[in-house]
């Protein structure tokens, strides 16, 4: 499993060998959130890298500006930026995903010396007006990149970028679907490693790597010695070791509704027609994050469909402390899944993982409750 190992290693760090090679010849931009249309950046021959905070151990620098009421992912990301660990970035793109990211960006803008800074307003609703507004925002982003980096993002470049991104999404979907059967070829923690590493690998190379991985996995014997098939839902999660803790106890994570997960690759961008309109449509109408207002029923339907399709026996809803959106969603999901007889476990966590023993106790009890349902 040589390729899988490459992904696993790359997922442990915010930088990697692909970033280092790219830096020799071109620009790199960091971005928060899956609502940022990476294709526009990539079409400018700039490498978009999703902001993560892996490796962060404490947040003393970030805490000088943010507070203990702010989400630990944002505090950790800012910490790494203030420690200059994101020195390789030539720019940063943020959006109004949530209040924490908004304010994290405000501080980043004022206190971190990243040269190019851009904020993308993403509508919180799906409507014709919102779609128009988002098209306008993506056009502004495109112009902003063109002006700052003195480049031209041609329609052809955009189409090529959309195609390569779609290709990687299809491959990720293929990989994801390998978890449907009784003996999944890839575990939940391994899959999360692939996704997280993939957000910092140029998509042309990612495409090759995913093809290699799919071939290697064909030879692999699947996982069959597990106690229950689980789905993981909720706030941003980019820590494979978190899922590993669950899997070490016998719960195999076979599906998810995470932004570092199926919500990242589920929807494709239309390849025919106006590329900006197509990007706006995809990034607005994709499987919705909890930030999207009035879309709770869509999220619920997505989870219920997945439960059925992947033969899920229990849903783990993990939420980052102080994440309002997923906190509120959790309240609704708990009632609605239990009403439908789907076992549900809620876990609260911080970005820097701690309290593994308490978590293990709860997961153990959850797995037992699922097992007892079978008898």
């Amino acid at each position: 499993m040589k390729t899988l190992q490459l992904f696993i290693e790359a997922s442990h760090s915010i930088s990697n060998s692909w970033i280092n090679s790219w830096k020799d010849k071109g620009y790199i931009l960091g971005y928060f959130c899956t609502h940022v249309p990476e294709e526009v950046v990539y079409a400018a021959d700039i490498l978009p890298v999703r902001i993560r905070a892996v490796g962060c151990r404490e947040t003393s620098l970030a805490d000088a500006y943010l507070s203990s009421f702010n989400c630990s992912f944002v505090r950790c990301s800012l910490e790494l930026a203030l420690e200059k660990q994101y020195h390789f970035l030539d720019g940063i793109i943020s959006c109004n995903s949530c209040d924490h990211i908004r304010r994290g960006y405000d501080v980043w803008k004022h206190k971190v010396g990243t040269p190019f800074k851009h904020f993308l307003q993403v509508p919180r609703m799906i409507s014709d007006e919102a779609l128009e507004a988002f098209k306008h925002e993506i056009t502004v982003l495109k112009k902003s990149l063109e002006n700052y980096f003195k480049i031209d993002i041609s329609e052809e470049k955009l189409r090529d970028s959309i195609m390569v991104y779609n290709d990687t999404r299809k491959l990720l979907k293929e990989l994801y679907d390998m978890r449907k059967n009784g003996s999944p070829k890839i575990s939940g923690s391994e899959f999360l490693s692939v996704i997280t590493a993939g957000t910092a690998i140029p998509k042309h190379q990612l495409k090759l790597l995913l093809n290699q991985l799919l071939n290697e996995l064909l030879e692999r014997e699947g996982y069959s010695d597990y106690r229950a098939r689980l789905m993981i839902v909720g706030s941003l999660l980019d820590a494979p070791q978190y899922i590993q803790t669950i899997e070490d106890m016998g719960g195999l994570v076979v599906a998810d509704a995470l932004c570092f997960g199926s919500r990242y690759f589920w929807d494709l961008v239309k390849e025919k027609g106006d590329p900006i309109s197509n990007l706006a449509e995809k990034y607005l109408k994709k499987v919705p994050c909890a930030r999207m207002i009035g879309e709770h029923d869509t999220r619920l339907r997505y989870v219920l469909d997945t439960v059925k399709e992947f033969d899920v026996e229990g849903v783990i809803f993990q939420r980052m402390k102080f994440c309002d959106f997923w906190g509120g969603e959790c309240f609704m999901f708990r009632r609605e899944l239990r009403e439908r007889g789907v076992p549900f476990l809620e876990l609260e966590r911080e970005y820097i993982l701690s309290g593994a023993e308490a978590m293990k106790t709860r997961v153990q009890a959850f797995l037992e409750s699922i097992e007892s349902r079978r008898t």
Partner: protein, 431 residues
């Protein structure tokens, strides 16, 4: 529980609040509750029953929206946060039991307690179940998700409004030409939606009449806000907020105009006489956030002990422009501007600069000696910029900021004594 029973019990909750306001109206405590504001709020809550008795519908809306359209469409606009603030401001810990019920049911602690009591009271069977919900998705994530929980629990028709991040003013560095049309269109759509729900068309003449009343009140409040800049400050610390809550609930009603004129005249007379709200004004503070609602006499203590007066606060800084009523389209556009400029939303919905620039201006114009941030624990967006703001106030104006944690709706996490201790230490240091 049947719908009728739920409605009756919910009315009982509002009735309790109204009875308390009526009691205060009949037994004034003028240093804490301004009699004219109490009169207006009492009338507002009374109207809830008047509308119900006439078989009219109730619409729940949030504090970052404005009620004129609802009055024009003869639907009672029930401002949710006016209830939770009202319950807190009685000083009788009336929100707390409802907060506990909501949290026991699984609502996370960190969600805002300005919205949580309605969830708890609904789960208990005490809440008024509205006929419709309209909410502007500002100023925070917590409000957004809690209104979606209302949707989920009540299952009544609702209309969310997406409020843009960018500015509508071409003079702003954050201007975007799509901001105003995007919001205006949503307001138009909301009217169409409400017409469909109620089966009645909006009468443009009625809307104009209501908005003109709202404008008249606002013109007076804008004058009051100017008069508050005088040294000594003519009106007590609670007044800007009182003005806000009256306008928030009653903009477009004749009572609101009467109130605003009365306050304006009172302020003007006092400025003319050079008479301050407190006898010996020593400290002028700008309150960078919402009041600590559960302890309405805090400002009285600050005045008596330190000669401190709060010259302006976040919610009192209600500086929306009067609306152009020359056509219905212009009215919608003016209402959209108003929504973008609603207190708190105005500062919190966009980049940190909206917040910081407003307070630098406010502290300068109101000649503040210091600033106080009573940071409501669930306002993550404000906690995410208070250090940038304090730094800017120090650099630009040389004034100090006190920032402390509090739950403005719940007296338990940070009790009054702790808040007083922080303020005392701060004032003792800067005096």
């Amino acid at each position: 529980m049947s719908e009728q029973k739920q409605k009756q019990k919910g009315s009982a909750m509002i009735e309790t609040l109204m009875q308390l306001f009526n009691f205060i109206k009949d037994n004034p405590i003028p240093n804490i509750y301004h009699p004219e504001a109490v009169k207006c709020l009492s009338s507002y809550l009374g109207d809830y029953f008047n509308y119900q008795n006439q078989g009219k519908k109730t619409l729940l809306y949030n504090f970052c929206f404005t009620p004129e359209i609802f009055y024009a469409m003869d639907v009672f606009p029930l401002c949710q946060e006016a209830l939770s603030v009202g319950l807190a401001a009685t000083g009788l810990a009336m929100n707390e039991p409802y907060i506990d019920i909501a949290e026991e049911a699984g609502i996370p602690k960190e969600l805002c307690n300005a919205q949580k009591p309605l969830i708890g009271s609904y789960l208990k069977g005490d809440a008024p179940k509205p006929d419709y919900i309209v909410y502007a998705a500002q100023p925070c994530d917590s409000l957004n998700i809690e209104y979606q929980i209302y949707d989920n629990l009540f299952r009544v028709p609702s209309f969310p409004i997406d409020v843009p991040y960018w500015h509508y003013d071409p003079q702003s560095q954050f201007y975007d030409e799509k901001t105003l049309p995007y919001l205006t269109k949503q307001i138009e759509n909301m009217v169409t939606w409400l017409e469909k729900q109620t089966g009645r068309e909006l009468n443009p003449e009625k809307l104009k009449e209501v908005v003109e009343l709202s404008n008249e009140a606002q013109e007076n409040i804008l004058e009051v806000n100017e008069l508050m800049k005088a040294v000594p400050c003519p009106l007590p610390s609670l007044m800007p907020f009182n003005n806000y809550i009256v306008e928030l609930t009653s903009a477009g009603k004749p009572e609101c105009v009467e109130y605003a004129k009365y306050i304006r005249n009172q302020a003007a007379e006092k400025v003319k006489r050079k008479e301050g709200a407190i006898p010996n004004e020593k400290i002028r503070a700008v309150w960078l956030y919402t009041h600590v609602f559960f302890t309405p006499d805090l400002f009285l203590w600050m005045a008596e002990k330190f000669g401190a007066v709060v010259v302006m606060d976040m919610l009192g800084y209600f500086i929306t422009k009067p609306i152009n009523t020359s056509s219905t389209e212009k009215i919608y556009e003016g209402l959209a501007e108003k929504v973008l400029d609603m207190p708190m939303a105005r500062q919190c919905r966009g980049p940190a600069e909206y917040y910081i620039d407003d307070y630098i201006k406010m502290c300068k114009e109101y000649k503040a000696d210091c600033a106080i941030f009573s940071g409501h624990m669930s306002c993550k967006h404000s906690w995410g910029l208070i250090k940038l703001l304090a730094e800017a106030l120090r650099k630009e104006l040389g004034i100090s900021t006190l920032a402390f944690e509090v739950d403005t709706m719940d007296s338990r996490p940070v009790p009054r004594g702790n808040i007083q201790a922080r303020i005392e230490q701060f004032f003792t240091t800067i005096m």
